[in-house]
Amino acid sequence: MDRRESLKTMLIGALGTGALLNGCVPGKENPKKLQDIYDFSSYGRTEEEKQRDADVFADNFFTDHQLETVAVMCDLILPATDTAGSASDAHVPAFIDFMVKDAPSWQDDFEIGLRWLDGYSKQKFGYDFVLLTHDQQMVIIEEIAYPDKATEVTQPGVDFYREIRNITLTGYYTTQMGFDDLGYVGNRPNVWDGVPDEVLKEHGLEYEPEWLAKCVDQSKREVTAEWDEDGNLIS
C-alpha cells in the first residue's frame, strides 16, 4: 500500500458517525485566510493598491460551508502523491477564497456550482457533498471531471468542475510545492548561455556557427563595451 492509499484509508477510518453528526470533516478545519499564511506586506504596491488589498483581505465571500466544500473538492482534484503535497497542503483553498473576492467574476461560478454540487449530492446520496464518503464523492467527481461524459443532468457540474479545476491548478502550480512538482527552475539570477547541449542533442538541433558568432561571449560580459567607427564591437 502506498502512502496515498494509507492516508486515504486513515481518512475513511477516522470519518465516523461523530464527524457526520457534527457536520465537519477531520483534517479540514477552516483554512486560514491567505494573508495569515503569506506575508504580503511588500510586493511593490502603490498606496492605492495597498488600500485595495486591505479591503479585499477584510472582505468575506464564502460561507464556512462553501469554503469547506471548496477545500474538499481541491483535494479530490489534486490529492497528495508520493512526492508532492495536496492542494490544501499548498493552501489552494485559501487562495481561492481570496481570488473570488479579488476577481468577482468568479463568484457566480462558485455560487451556482457549489449549490448544484450539494443538490446533486443530496439527490444521489442524501447528504451535502462534504458529508459523503470519499468513495461517494469520487462517484460524483468521475461524472463531472470529463467534458466528454457530460449529460444534460451533469452539465452544470461539468462546467463548475472545469472552473474549480482551473483555479486549483493555478493555485497549486504558483507555489513552491507546485514549482517542485513541475520541476520549474527559473526566476533566479544566472548567466544564460544557450540551450544546454544535451537538450539540443535530444532535439537533433544545434547552434549554427554563423548565428553563434553574433551572440554574446559571456566570458566578456563585464568588459565595458567599445565599438569602432563602423559599429563593430571591439571589446
Binding site: Q35, Y43, Y161, Q176, V195, W211, C215, V216
Partner: protein
C-alpha cells in the same frame, strides 16, 4: 481656485518623465539648464525594495500575478492601464480606442518590451514609396547621428545585418536563441521568411558603471533593480540628477495647461497637486511637452487664451489629427517536439531573442506598408492562469480531456513550455479623420476636460492583418506545429486589434515644414509658440512598423540640443 505660483523660474519645465521627457531632462541639465519635471504619478525606483517586483515568486502576490489593478498583471512595473479611476476618456460612435497611461516616474518606459528598432530610410519617406500619407520633413540621415548616440548612451543588443530599411547601430551582443526560437528559425526559413537576432535595450554586456549587466530573469517588464534594461527613470533622470544636480522632480502633479502671457508666449505650466488637490504653477523660459502623444495634445488643446483661442499651437487645427497606432494581431501554436520537456532554466532576457523584420518592401501586395513578427514562448515562470484548460490540449492527440489527480499533474507537465506564439506589429496609414479632441462635456476628477477619440481602421490595416495570419500559418505549418484557435476572417477584421491596444499611439502633433498642415517644425518646436517643444511621439508623421521608443529618444536629443542652441542665440 487660488493658484499657487512658485517663485523659482526654471530654464525649462518638462511635462512627463517617460522616454521623451526623461531624455530632454538629461540633455538640458547636462548643458547647464535648471530643469523641472512635472510627473502625474508617484516616484518609482526599482532598486528600492518597496517598489521591486522583479524576482518575486508568484506566491508573494495574493493573486499570483493576476491583473486586478495593472493591465499586464500584478508584477508589471507600469502602474495604470487602459482604464484609470477618475481619469476617463470618451469615444465617438463606432470608435473603440484604448488609451494606455502609466502614471509614474518613467511612465510607460517601465513596461515596454524593450524592442528598440531604428526607423529606416523608407520609414521617413513613405509617401515617396507608396504615395500615401505624408513624408517626414527629416530623413534617416538627419536622425542617424542621434540614434548612434542613443545606442551608446542606453545600450541595445542586436546584430549587424546590412538590411537597407533596418539600419544597424552600435550593438551589444544578442543572447543565443531559446529552444522554441530555434524551432521558429527552422520553420520560418523553410517558409522563406527571414529571422535575425532581436534588438532590445537590455545590457548583455557592461555599458558603464551606473548600471549592471543582465542576469537573465526574463522579467524586464517588472523593471530591473540593477538598471540592466532601459527605463527613463533609471537610465536618464537618475543619472542626470546625480551628475548635474539641476533636475527637480514634481511627482503626483497632473499638468493642466501651458500658461501664456498677453502676447501668447508660454511662461509656465499649471498643474494639479494630486496630494492636496490644489492648483499650482511653475514658471519656465522653455516648455517641453513629453506627456505622451495624446496627453500632450490634451494639454495643448486645454491651453486656450485670447491669442490661442483653439488651444496653444492649434492655429492649423491639426492638434489631435493623424492619431495612429501600430497594427497588431497574432496566433499561437502547440509544438509537439516541445511536449514533455527536459526542464532547465530558459528564462533569458525579458523578451524575444529572435524576430522577423519586414521583408517584402519590394513585393506587390494588396496593402501598403509592412509589419514585423515577434516570437513568444518558452518555460516562463508559472503565474495566474497556469493550468487553465491545459488538459484540453490533449484533444489534439485523441487523449483524454479532463480528469483529476495524477492525470492533471501529468497534463501540466506534458504541455509546460510547449505553446509558442507569433505576434504581428505593423504600420498603419495615418488618417486625418482619426483624431482625438476635447470632449465638450466630460471632465476628469480634477475638472480638466478629457479626450474624446475618433478612430477607424481602413482596409489597408485589415488586409495587412490578413496577410500576417497567412504568413504566421505558413510558418507554423513549416514547423509542423498545431495552430490553436481559428484563423480570424473578414467578420473580425482578420484579428486586427483595436487601435490603442499596441500602445504605440503617435501623430497628434505631427512635425512638418508647412504650419498649415503640421503642429511643430522639424525641430519639434511649435509653429505657433517658439518656446514650446514636443518631445514625445506626437511629432511622428508616420509610425513605422518599428516600436517608437528609440525614435522618441533620438528626436528628443535633437530637439533638446536645438533648444540649447536657440537659447544661446537668444532666439527664444
Amino acid at each position: 481656485m487660488e493658484i499657487i505660483k512658485s517663485r523659482k523660474e526654471y530654464d525649462a519645465v518638462i511635462v512627463g518623465s517617460g522616454a521623451g521627457g526623461g531624455m530632454s531632462a538629461k540633455i538640458l541639465a547636462e548643458q547647464g539648464l535648471n530643469v523641472a519635471i512635472i510627473e502625474a504619478g508617484p516616484f518609482f525606483d526599482p532598486a528600492q525594495d518597496q517598489y521591486r517586483t522583479q524576482l518575486r515568486p508568484p506566491w508573494e502576490s495574493p493573486r499570483r500575478g493576476y491583473g486586478s489593478t495593472r493591465a499586464f498583471g500584478d508584477y508589471d512595473a507600469a502602474y495604470g492601464g487602459w482604464d484609470i479611476d477618475g481619469e476617463p476618456y470618451t469615444q465617438a460612435d463606432g470608435t473603440n480606442f484604448g488609451w494606455f497611461r502609466s502614471r509614474m516616474l518613467g511612465g510607460r518606459t517601465n513596461h515596454w518590451g524593450r524592442i528598440s528598432l531604428r526607423f529606416g530610410p523608407l520609414d521617413f519617406k513613405r509617401k515617396d514609396w507608396d504615395g500615401l500619407g505624408d513624408n517626414w520633413p527629416i530623413s534617416y540621415e538627419d536622425v542617424k547621428p542621434y540614434y548612434d548616440r542613443v545606442d551608446k548612451m542606453i545600450g541595445v543588443f542586436g546584430s549587424k545585418e546590412g538590411i537597407f530599411n533596418e539600419p544597424d547601430g552600435f550593438f551589444l551582443p544578442p543572447p543565443k536563441p531559446r529552444l522554441h526560437e530555434l524551432y521558429y528559425i527552422k520553420g520560418a526559413r523553410k517558409a522563406g521568411i527571414p529571422v535575425i537576432p532581436s534588438r532590445l535595450s537590455i545590457l548583455t554586456k557592461r555599458l558603464n558603471n551606473d548600471r549592471g549587466v543582465c542576469f537573465y530573469c526574463n522579467q524586464c517588464n517588472r523593471a530591473c533593480q540593477i538598471y540592466a534594461d532601459f527605463s527613463a527613470g533609471t537610465c536618464l533622470i537618475f543619472p542626470a540628477q546625480k551628475s548635474t544636480g539641476r533636475v527637480d522632480l514634481y511627482v503626483n502633479s497632473m499638468a493642466k495647461e501651458v500658461v501664456t502671457d498677453g502676447d501668447g508666449k508660454a511662461t509656465g505650466v499649471s498643474y494639479i497637486n494630486k496630494e492636496d488637490g490644489s492648483e499650482q504653477e511653475i514658471k519656465g523660459k522653455v516648455i517641453v511637452l513629453g506627456a505622451s502623444a495624446c496627453s500632450t495634445a490634451r494639454i495643448l488643446l486645454n491651453s486656450k487664451s485670447s491669442v490661442h483661442p483653439d488651444g496653444l499651437g492649434n492655429s492649423s487645427g491639426m492638434i489631435g489629427r493623424y492619431l495612429h497606432d501600430s497594427t497588431g494581431t497574432g496566433a499561437a501554436a502547440l509544438v509537439p517536439e516541445l511536449m514533455d520537456r527536459t526542464m532547465y532554466n530558459e528564462d533569458g532576457v525579458g523578451g524575444l531573442h529572435v524576430y522577423t523584420p519586414w521583408w517584402l518592401n519590394e513585393a506587390k501586395l494588396d496593402f501598403p506598408r509592412g509589419y514585423h513578427l515577434e516570437i513568444w514562448g518558452g518555460m516562463g515562470m508559472p503565474s495566474y492562469g497556469i493550468g487553465f484548460d491545459t488538459t484540453n490540449l490533449n484533444s489534439h492527440f485523441n487523449d483524454t480531456v479532463g480528469g483529476y489527480g495524477d492525470k492533471l499533474r501529468k497534463d501540466v507537465k506534458r504541455f509546460f513550455g510547449s505553446v509558442m506564439g507569433i505576434a504581428m506589429r505593423g504600420e498603419s496609414v495615418p488618417q486625418y479623420n482619426n483624431y482625438c479632441e476635447l470632449d465638450p462635456e466630460v471632465k476628469d476628477q480634477w475638472g480638466i476636460p478629457v479626450l474624446k477619440f475618433n478612430y477607424q481602421w481602413t482596409d489597408y490595416e485589415r488586409l495587412q492583418a490578413k496577410h500576417a495570419h497567412d504568413t504566421i500559418e505558413s510558418i507554423f505549418d513549416a514547423m509542423g506545429a498545431i495552430k490553436l484557435g481559428n484563423k480570424p476572417g473578414a467578420d473580425s477584421d482578420y484579428g486586427l486589434m483595436n487601435p490603442g491596444v499596441i500602445i504605440h499611439e503617435v501623430g497628434t502633433t505631427r512635425m512638418g515644414d508647412d504650419p498649415a498642415t503640421s503642429v511643430t517644425n522639424k525641430f519639434n518646436q511649435l509653429h505657433d509658440a517658439e518656446n514650446v517643444f514636443v518631445v514625445d511621439a506626437g511629432v511622428f508623421v508616420s509610425q513605422a512598423d518599428k516600436n517608437p521608443t528609440w525614435t522618441i529618444l533620438a528626436l528628443s536629443i535633437r530637439a533638446s540640443e536645438y533648444i540649447v542652441d536657440q537659447l544661446k542665440k537668444q532666439n527664444i
